[in-house]
Amino acid sequence: MRPLTEEETKTFFEKLSKYIGENIKLLIDRPDGTYCFRLHKDRVYYVMEETMKKAANISRENLVSFGTCFGKFTKSGKFRLHITALDFLAPYAKYKIWVKPSAEQQFLYGHHVMKSGLGRITENTPQYQGVIVYSMSDLPLGFGVAAKSTEDCRRVDPMTVVTFHQADIGEYIRSEDTLT
């Protein structure tokens, strides 16, 4: 376990800011305690200071997880967000889309969101913007990337992909053993 280097922090924040913009500040500067990001086995964990100190006593091989895993650094040095980060992304999300109940299951099985399944979308969403996917009852289901901007969404035909799937809460079951 160690703090992120400056370079890693930058990569990580760049990825996070695609979804929550400058709201990252709210994650770092919290009134209810000191929270920090820690790297462990290439994964970034968002953890309270006290918990981190306690977890530091456990040897590296034996430490499975602590705090919330936000994602991992790939071998090529890029950062990949995991679904476990959704709890922190959803409240601060800048761009959201809502999927119809009929398309919910498709998304939860790892498919992209089609125009036909699109319920609502935040105004002025640019193309390739990171978006959080909600169900119509405002339950965060996952996140993805907008394949079409809001304006384009109006024009395209129903079978066009409007949001690329990145992660969904179905992964808690599908990839249970890789999530930490």
């Binding site: 280097t5 400056e6 930058k10 770092i28 200071e49």
Partner: protein, 336 residues
């Protein structure tokens, strides 16, 4: 005369009384190991005497036991060496711990480590081997061995694909010197490793067909091989920074100053925001197209209800636009 005899006898008796008897009685026999000149007294101590006259009692006890030990020594076969009586001690019975620690095994050489790992067993080579050509025994290695035959040959074959003007004798000699040098180097490194010194690297040995990796290593080494350790060496245009130059990565302490960490992260964030949004051409174009479309719609069907909200959004849009410095002339209209 009788007086004289008496006085002599008396003196003898006095002298006798000074010495104690060599006869010592013990309830339990002593455990005597003559080989080590060791006697162990298993009899219990007399507690009363020990308390009253401690020192005297202990001295007398020691004397008696020593007497018994010496008695035993006198039972051993004796001989006279240069006028001194010498007893021949039997082999010691008691096992004593050794004085010095057990010597450590010799440190293994690199080859021995490897051989052990791979399960390679060394066959003992004979010092001499039979040579059919000269019908005689020759040393397996070293002076006059077959290994050195090449050097003693009066003529050498030129390989088919070799340069005919190449000096084959020189080549063989050089190869031999290199082999010897390599061996010597390895020997030194083994010694260095055994004595826990820092083992120096070999650096880069020249090769005929250097790989890309080899070349880049050579380049970094060459850049560093100046009096200023490469401090003032210019790099080539578009030269990539060298990876893995042996610089150790250093990380912040895990449990350090949390507030410092926080401020550093906020700093990075603010820097990122500053570097922030450049003009996204596609985005600007789309926005422009959208506005045109909306304007068309508006001209087609004027709806007084929406006028207010449009005005509001215009204001906000303009604020945003000035910040971003995005290009675009003419009227801009957004839709809420």
């Amino acid at each position: 005369m009788a007086d004289l005899v008496e006085s002599v006898l008396q003196k003898a008796a006095e002298k006798e009384s000074k010495y104690k008897s060599i006869e010592v009685h013990k309830d339990i026999d002593l455990d005597i190991d003559a080989g080590n000149l060791l006697a162990v007294d298993p009899n219990p101590l007399d507690a009363k005497k020990l308390r009253e006259k401690r020192d005297e009692y202990l001295i007398s006890l020691a004397r008696d036991n020593t007497q018994l030990l010496i008695n035993r020594i006198w039972e051993l076969p004796v001989e006279r060496v240069e006028g001194t009586i010498v007893a021949k001690l039997p082999a010691p019975k008691t096992i004593l711990p050794r004085e010095k620690p057990i010597p450590k095994p010799k440190p293994e050489t690199k080859w021995q480590q490897y051989a052990k790992l791979k399960g390679i067993q060394n066959k003992k080579k004979a010092r001499k081997v039979w040579d059919d050509e000269i019908k005689d025994w020759r040393p397996t290695w070293g002076y006059q061995s077959r290994v050195n035959d090449e050097l003693n040959e009066w003529v050498l074959e030129v390989p088919a694909n070799a340069d005919p003007y190449e000096d084959q004798f020189g080549k063989a000699k050089k190869a031999k010197t290199e082999r010897v040098a390599k061996n010597e180097l390895q020997r030194m490194r083994n010694i260095a490793r055994a004595s826990k010194l820092k083992v120096p690297g070999v650096g880069l040995t020249p090769t005929d067909t250097p790989s890309k990796d080899h070349l880049s290593k050579a380049l970094t080494l060459a850049k560093k091989s100046t009096a200023s350790v490469g401090k003032f060496t210019d790099s080539l245009p578009k030269e990539k920074p060298v990876k893995n130059t042996g610089k150790k990565r250093k990380f912040e302490p895990n449990v350090g100053d949390m507030s410092k960490e926080k401020s550093a992260q906020l700093d990075i964030l603010s820097k990122m925001a500053k570097a922030g949004p450049t003009v996204n051409v596609t985005k600007a174009m789309k926005q422009h197209m959208l506005e045109e479309e909306q304007q068309r719609q508006k001209t087609n069907s004027e709806r007084p209800k929406k006028a207010k909200s449009i005005k509001k959004s215009i204001k906000r849009k303009q604020g945003k636009d000035t910040k971003r410095g995005g290009g675009g002339k003419g009227k801009r209209r957004g839709r809420k």
